[in-house]
Symmetry: C2
Subunit: 373 residues, 2 copies
C-alpha cells in the first residue's frame, strides 16, 4: 500500500512516487501545514488549485481541540477537513516540548499542561499512536523527543529515549492503512546522528523522518547533519525532513536526498505581510508598493500573481483586510511547491546538479528563517 | 448603455435586465458589499462561484484609503480589485453621517474628520461625484443626506438638501459610462417620501435609489414607505433599496417593486459565527454543533454546504481559524443570492405571488436585523 518508487536520481537527490491510500505523492514534495485541520485562511479547493498534494496536521493541537475521538467519530481527518489527498500527522512531541506548559518528561512519556486551558495531559508513545490512529492520516510519526541541538549530553538522553519510543510506537501501531515513520534525532552531534540514523534504519518503518533540525542550529550544522544522515538511510524508503524550511533549505535538502518537507514558513510569512519574490522577501506593507502595478512575481502561475497587483495587496494589508493573508498564503505556498516541481523535473531530465547554484542564487534573498519558526 | 429591460411582472414585483458596461445584471439582484474594494475574506473567484453579479464598494472608505486618485491611476475600481462584473459605489454620504467624527453639515456640503486618523475632509455633491468618477463604478450615487427617520423637521431639511444636491450631482457628472442614480429620502413621513419620490423621479437619472431605510425605523414603517414610494417611481428605471437587508426585507422589497439591494448583513453575520439556516439563524460556536454532521443547509448549493459539516465549521470557530469567516461568508451570500434567483424565476413563471407567504415563513427565523447593521 505504501510502495515508494524511485524514478530518477541526480547525485544524492531523488525523484520518486510514494503511493498512499489517498493518492500518489510525487516526490520531492513540500507539505503545507494545517495545524488545526485547516491550512490557515485557505479552502481545500484553493490548496488543490495551487498544487498542494500532501497536507500536514498537528497531533497535539487536534488532540486538545476538537479531540481526536471526535475527529475519528466524524470519519477521520480527511473527511473532517475535506482534504481529499494524502495527509500526515506529527507525533505531538515537538509541540509538547515547544508549546505546552510545565512539561515533565520521564522514560515512559511526557506530562504537560495544555496551552489553551492549563489542563493536565500525558502523552506516551502508545497514546501518540492511538491519537494518530484516531485522526487517521496516511503518514504518521513515532513519538519522539526533540532536544536542544547544542546540548550533547541532553541530546544523547533524548535520542536514546526516542529510540525506545520508536520501538514502542511500532509495537502500538495497528492500522495497515497508515505508514508509520521513525524519527532520527541526535542534535548536531555527528556520533549521535550516526547512531540514530543506523538504529532507526534498522527498524521496519516504511519511511524515515529527520527531526530536531531547523530548531536553533546553524545552516552549516543542518547541512552537515544531513550529509551524515541521508547516506546511512535505506535507499528504498522516503525521507522526511521535519519542519523545514526556507527555499534555500528545500534546495539544500533535496540535493542531500530528502523527499518530503513541511514548514509553517509560507503561511506564517503571509500573515505577516511578507511574500517570496524574485528580488527577495517583500514586506508588502511598505509604502514603496502603493503604486506598484506588478504582481508579486511575474513568473509565478498562482491565482494571486495572475490576478492582483502589489498595489492592491498593499491596500488590503494597510486596510487590515483578511483577504491579504489568503492571497499571500496562496502565493507563498505556490512558490515553494513550484520550486519542488522544478527540482523534481530537473532530477528527471538530468539538469538538477547544474542548476542548483542558480536556484540558490535566485532564492538568496528569501533564505532567512523566521525567528519564531 | 444603461438600458433597463423589464422581462416579467408579478403584481408590483419585476424581473428585468440592467445593461452595464461590465455586463448585464439580472434583476432583482442582491449585491455583496466590498467596503474597501474587497468583499471581506473572499476572492473574486469565490464571489463568481457563489453567483454574485453586482459588487458594491464604499466611496467614503476608498477616498480615505487608498485614495480615489490612486485607484483611478491604477485603472479604476474594476481593475484594482479585479472584479470583472458590474460595480456600484455609494455617495459617501451615509458613512460621513454614521462613521466620521465631528461632522458639520451646511447647504454646500459636509466637513468631517476621518475615523482613521482624525484628519479633516470635505464632501460636496461635486466632490462626491469627482471621487466616484475616479473610482469608476458602473453605478454611482448622487450625494445625499440621511436623516433620523423619526425626526420630521430634520428629515424635511435633509430631504430638501438632498434634492438640491441631486441637481448638483447631475450637473457635476461627466462620465457617460456610469449610471448616476438619484436618491429618494424623507424618513418615514408620508408627505416627505411622496415629495421626494416625485422630485427625484422628475430628474433625468437612469435609476432611482431609496435611502434612509433600515436605519432605525420599524419594519412596518419601512414597508409603508416602500408602498408609498415605488408606485410613484418611473416603471422603466431600476430601483435600488440601499443597505437592505435581511431575507425578509428582500422578499418584502421585491414584492413592492425593488430591483437592487445591498447589505453587509451576510458577511458581517459570517464574521460573528452566524449562518442563515432552514431552522433559523445559527450561531455555529454553539456546542450543540460539535458532532453535527449536516451541512448548514442541506438544500444549499454553495461550496461550504456541499463540502463541510457544521461540526467542522464549529471547530474552525472555536479554534479561531480565519477560514470560518470565509466559509460562512460564502454560505450567507449564496443563501441571499439564491433567494433572489428563486424570486426572479418565480416572477418569470407566474408563481411569485402565491409563493411569497411560504418564503416569508421559511425565512422567519432569519428575519432579525443586526443591531449595528
Amino acid at each position: 500500500m505504501f510502495e515508494f518508487t524511485l524514478t530518477a536520481r541526480a547525485g544524492r537527490a531523488r525523484a520518486g512516487v510514494f503511493h498512499t491510500p489517498h493518492g500518489d505523492l510525487a516526490t520531492p514534495v513540500f507539505a503545507p501545514v494545517g495545524t488545526q485541520a485547516t491550512v490557515k485562511t485557505l479552502t481545500p479547493a484553493q490548496l488543490t488549485e495551487l498544487g498542494a498534494s500532501l497536507v500536514l496536521a498537528n497531533t497535539y493541537h487536534l488532540y486538545l481541540r476538537p479531540g481526536d475521538e471526535l475527529v475519528h467519530d466524524l470519519g477521520g481527518l480527511h473527511e473532517f477537513m475535506q482534504w481529499p489527498g494524502p495527509t500526515l500527522t506529527d507525533s505531538g512531541g515537538f509541540q509538547v516540548f515547544s508549546l505546552a506548559q510545565t512539561r515533565k518528561i520521564d522514560d515512559d512519556g511526557v506530562t504537560f499542561k495544555s496551552h489553551i486551558d492549563g489542563s493536565t495531559h500525558r502523552f506516551t508513545p502508545e497514546k501518540s499512536i492511538q491519537i494518530q490512529e484516531n485522526l487517521g492520516a496516511d503518514i504518521i510519526m513515532a513519538f519522539d523527543e526533540c532536544s536542544d541541538p547544542n546540548d550533547h549530553a541532553y541530546s544523547k538522553i533524548a535520542m536514546e529515549r526516542t529510540h525506545r519510543w520508536a520501538e514502542r510506537s511500532l509495537a502500538a501501531h495497528t492500522r495497515s492503512d497508515q505508514a508509520l515513520f521513525g524519527i532520527v534525532q541526535g542534535g548536531v552531534s555527528p556520533d549521535l546522528r550516526t547512531a540514530s540514523a543506523k538504529f532507526i534504519s534498522s527498524l521496519p518503518f516504511p519511511g524515515i523522518a529527520i527531526g530536531g533540525l531547523s530548531v536553533g542550529e546553524t545552516k552549516a550544522e543542518m547541512h552537515a547533519a544531513l550529509d551524515l544522515v541521508t547516506p546511512l538511510l535505506p535507499e528504498d524508503k522516503p525521507r522526511y525532513l521535519m519542519g523545514v524550511g526556507t527555499p534555500e533549505d528545500l534546495i539544500e535538502g533535496v540535493r542531500r536526498g530528502i523527499d518530503i518537507f513541511d514548514c509553517v514558513l509560507p503561511t506564517r510569512l503571509a500573515r505577516h505581510n511578507a511574500a517570496f519574490a524574485p528580488e527577495g522577501r517583500l514586506n508588502l506593507m511598505n509604502a514603496a508598493f502603493a503604486r506598484d502595478q506588478r504582481p508579486i512575481d511575474e513568473t509565478c502561475d498562482c491565482y494571486t500573481c495572475k490576478t492582483f497587483t502589489r498595489a492592491y495587496l498593499r491596500h488590503l494589508i494597510v486596510a487590515k483586510e483578511l483577504l491579504a493573508g489568503t492571497l499571500l498564503s496562496i502565493h507563498n505556498l505556490r512558490a515553494l511547491i513550484r520550486l519542488m516541481e522544478t527540482m523534481r523535473a530537473a532530477i528527471q531530465d538530468g539538469s538538477f546538479e547544474s542548476r542548483v547554484p542558480k536556484w540558490l542564487k535566485q532564492w538568496q534573498g528569501n533564505a532567512e528563517r523566521l525567528k519564531d519558526g
